[in-house]
């Protein structure tokens, strides 16, 4: 039984995405280790090649674009480790995905409590 995926704006990380994004997520998983984060920063092309990212994944990493990374099969928990390399937190990536400024995104979160 497949899930109904039709929740607007809401990616579901299912078997299709898990297969599609395996290499990308595996690279992000490697960023748990400081030496791997350093190796990525030192030579991003070589590091992405080592993990056999496909062209779509490589381009999404190059663009630092979270929606494109998700489209390429990235899971947000693993992507957070990539975002962390660039000093981005979940408000930063939330703002990027929703096309808002970080301040506006934070205001939107706060408004949900009222």
């Amino acid at each position: 039984m497949k899930l109904d995926h039709d929740i607007p704006g809401t990616p579901i990380f299912d078997g299709d995405q898990a297969q599609k994004g395996y290499a990308l997520n595996q690279m992000c998983f490697s960023f748990n280790k400081a030496e791997n984060r350093a190796a990525f920063l030192k030579d991003e092309d070589a590091y992405c090649a080592k993990y056999r990212l496909n062209a779509q994944q490589r381009e999404a990493v190059r663009a630092r674009n979270v929606l494109k990374l998700i489209e390429a099969g990235g899971n947000v928990y693993y992507l957070a480790k990539l975002a962390g390399i660039f000093g981005l937190n979940v408000q930063d990536i939330g703002a990027q995905q929703t096309g808002m400024s970080v301040d506006d995104f934070k205001a939107k979160l706060a408004a949900a409590g009222r």
């Binding site: 898990a18 947000v76 480790k81 096309g99 949900a112 409590g113």
Partner: protein, 287 residues
Amino acid sequence: MAQIVGGIATTHVPSIGNAIAKGLQHDPYWKPFFDGFPPAHKWLAKVKPDVVVVVYNDHGLNFFLDKMPTFSVGAAAEYRNEDEGWGLPVSKPYPGDAKFSWHLIESLVADEFDITVCQEMLVDHAFTIPLSLLWPGADVRPVRTVPVVVNTVQHPLPSIARCLKFGKAIGRAIESYEQDMKVLVVGTGGLSHQLDGTRAGFINKDFDMMCLDKIVNDPEALTRYSIPDLVEQAGSQGVELLNWIVMRGALTGRVSKLHSNYHIPISNTASAMLMLENEPVRVRQAA
């Protein structure tokens, strides 16, 4: 015999770890969240549990997508935390209770829950932060621990009904342990939040309030929500409610609410804590 003293559920957002490290508990942003915990400190000092079963989801520290068990149980003498990649301070190890873990494992498999057994298991922020909130102090390790990990990362996820049954099986397993000891069950994560997609930042206060109410006295009512319903209502990471459901299922006796706290937002999340007392049925009958 082992006795289940109660259950506590709490949000496990990583930035809480940074707030603790920086001593921001009284900062205006953080205070409404940390104010939920003094009643727990007081109650835990009185009850003094010996062991804590911590039900949580791993976020890519211990498990990768190469092997993703639906339910797994730690069976180690010690559990280490490690670098998760974004600068959270690494916690010192937590003591386990391997003998108790193996009892739980034997009982769960006999009860038809075919869990994955982990003699080595790294514990991430979803395990360490709740324990730091309940027993503040970086080197404080007053309890032994058993990690129980639920897959909330890769669909298909176990249903709410299945998680409730799993929790009940954990409750039966704890209560059949012959050693006299007090056990607390902790469920971590949630409540509503969504990190990914153009709906990122989604929070659903009404749904959270309903869950906080139902989980105390009528957790079965929540089984009407399918996983897609839960994603829709709680957000794609709000599915961590499953960990709360397992915790609640493990409380086999008469359950009463001791305390709760709810605050929006902490990071991208509707933060919440819920503290439940479990009065074992046999104690009540003896009284």
